[in-house]
C-alpha cells in the first residue's frame, strides 16, 4: 500500500492532468446536456403529439443504449461517416447526447410540475406561448429542477471515466498509466492502491454533489410549499 502511495505522490502531476481533463469533460458535457435538455424538455411539453413523440424517442434511445456503446459508436463510427472526431470531442459528444436525454426528462418534469394555475393565469393575461415559457414556466421549473440537475452532474462526473477506454487521458487513465509503467518497468503492481485512490477521489467529488443535491431538495422542497421537486436520475437509471 505504501508503494502505491509513493507512486501517487511521484506521479502527482500526471494525476492532476487527468483530473483536469475529467473536470473539463464534465463541464463541457454539463453545458451541452443542459442546452439539449432545455430544448428537448421544453419541446416535450408542447401540445402537438408528434413533437412529444420525437423527443420521447430520442430520450428512450439514448437512455436504453449502454453509454459505453454510445461512446464507442461515435468514436469508431465517426471516421467511417467521414467526420474525424478526436477522442475528447467524441466522448464529450457521446456523454452530451446521453446527458441531454436525462436532462430532457428532468426539464420536462420540472415544467410539468409548475402548478396549472400559473399556466392558466398567464394564458388569461394574453401572454404569447414563448413568453409564458420564458417568464413563468422556466423560472419556476428551475427551482424544481436544481436538485435533480446536481444529481445528474454527479453522474456525468462519474461517466467521464469512460473516456479512458478510447484514449482520453482523464483521471482513471492516468491511474492506469502509472500502474502500467510500474508493472512493466519495475515488476511491481500497485493496482489495488491506485484504483482505490481513484475510487476515493471520485467519491470525494461526487458525494459533495450528491449531498448538495439532497440539501437543495430539502430546502427548495420546503420553500415551494411542498410542491414536489423532480427526483434526480438515480445512477441506477444510468
Amino acid at each position: 500500500m505504501s508503494y502505491a502511495l509513493q507512486q501517487i505522490v511521484e506521479n502527482a502531476p500526471l494525476l492532476l492532468i487527468g483530473l483536469r481533463a475529467t473536470l473539463m469533460l464534465a463541464v463541457v458535457t454539463l453545458a451541452a446536456s443542459t442546452a439539449i435538455g432545455v430544448v428537448l424538455g421544453t419541446l416535450a411539453t408542447l401540445r402537438p403529439r408528434w413533437i412529444r413523440a420525437c423527443v420521447a424517442l430520442y430520450v428512450e434511445v439514448f437512455r436504453d443504449i449502454p453509454l459505453i456503446v454510445t461512446i464507442f459508436a461515435i468514436f469508431f463510427g465517426a471516421p467511417f461517416l467521414g467526420v474525424p472526431l478526436k477522442p475528447f470531442p467524441a466522448v464529450a459528444l457521446g456523454l452530451s447526447l446521453w446527458g441531454g436525454a436525462n436532462g430532457a426528462e428532468i426539464v420536462r418534469g420540472g415544467i410539468l410540475s409548475v402548478s396549472r394555475g400559473q399556466l392558466e393565469a398567464a394564458t388569461a393575461l394574453g401572454l404569447r406561448t414563448w413568453k409564458i415559457y420564458l417568464l413563468v414556466l422556466w423560472p419556476q421549473a428551475l427551482r424544481a429542477v436544481l436538485p435533480a440537475y446536481t444529481g445528474l452532474l454527479a453522474l456525468i462526473v462519474q461517466s467521464t471515466s469512460l473516456g479512458a477506454l478510447v484514449g482520453v487521458t482523464e483521471f482513471l487513465k492516468a491511474g492506469g498509466l502509472i500502474i502500467e509503467r510500474s508493472t512493466v518497468m519495475q515488476g511491481i503492481n500497485p493496482a489495488f492502491g491506485i484504483y482505490f485512490f481513484v475510487l476515493c477521489t471520485y467519491f470525494a467529488i461526487c458525494s459533495v454533489l450528491t449531498l448538495a443535491s439532497r440539501r437543495l431538495e430539502r430546502r427548495l422542497g420546503r420553500q415551494a410549499g411542498g410542491g414536489a421537486t423532480i427526483r434526480a436520475p438515480d445512477a441506477s437509471r444510468l
Partner: protein
Amino acid sequence: MNKTRFAAALLALGLAAGQAVAQQLPPLPQSIRDHGVLRAGVRCDQPPYGFRGSDGGFAGVEVEMARQMAAWAFGAAEKIDLQCVTADNRIPQLNAQRVDLLIATLGVTPERARVIDFSDAYRWGGSDLLVKKGSPIQKLDDVRNRTVIMLRGTTQALWFDANMPGLQSLRLNTASDALQALQQDRGEAYAHDAATLIVIAARDPSLRLVGEPFAIADAAVGLRKNEAQWGAWINAALARMKAEGLYTTWLERWVPAEIRQPYTDAFIKPRPTAR
C-alpha cells in the same frame, strides 16, 4: 571583419548543406507542414520499440524513428507530438486525425489495408508465446485446450481467430495487463510480438519463450488513405534511415547486446516464412 565574413561563409555553407540534405527527401505535404510538428502515434507498452523510459518519457527504436522524421521534416527532433496508442485504438486515432502517422508495431494485414495505407515495410516481426518457467507448453499446438492471453486488435488475435477458432482467449488492452494476467495465472500463455516478449523474458527469470515463431508479418508505418504525397515522403525517409545505418545505431541504444541479433535481423534481413 574577417570573423564576420568567416561566420557568414560558414553559415552559407551550412545552409547549403542543409538544403542539399533536405533535397534528398521529397517535399513535405502542406497539410503536414501546417501542424508545425510531427504528430506520431507510438506504442508505450512494447519494449524495445515503443515504451516508457525510466524517466517516464517516450523511449524505443520506433520513437527514435519518429524523432528522426521530425528532425528531417521540421528541422528539429523536438518538433514532435508523440501520442501513446494501443493496438485497438491506433487506427481509429489515425483516422480521427489525432495523429498523422503510426509507427506503432503496426503489422501489414489486408483488413487494415482496407481502412489505412501502409508505407514500405521497415522491418518484419514474428509472434511468440510467453509462458511461466514450469509450464508444460512446449510448442504452439500445446495451447489448443488452454487459455491464451493476447491483446485486442493485434496480429496475434487475427492469427488465432483464423487458425484456432475455438481457442479460449483472454483479450486485454495493454501489454502490462496481459503480463499481469499471465503472472496471476489467468491464462497459460501470453501471445504477442516476439520482439516484446524477448525483452520481457530477459528481464524476468520466471518466464520463458516457447520459441516457435508464427504469424510473421511486415511492420510498416501507417498513414491515412489518399495521402500519396505524405506516403512518398515517409518512404523516402525510411529508405534514408536504412541507407545511413540508423537502425543499427538505435538498436545498439535500446537493445542489450546479448539479445540484439534477432532484432537486427528483423530490420536488415528479408522476411522468413512460418505458420
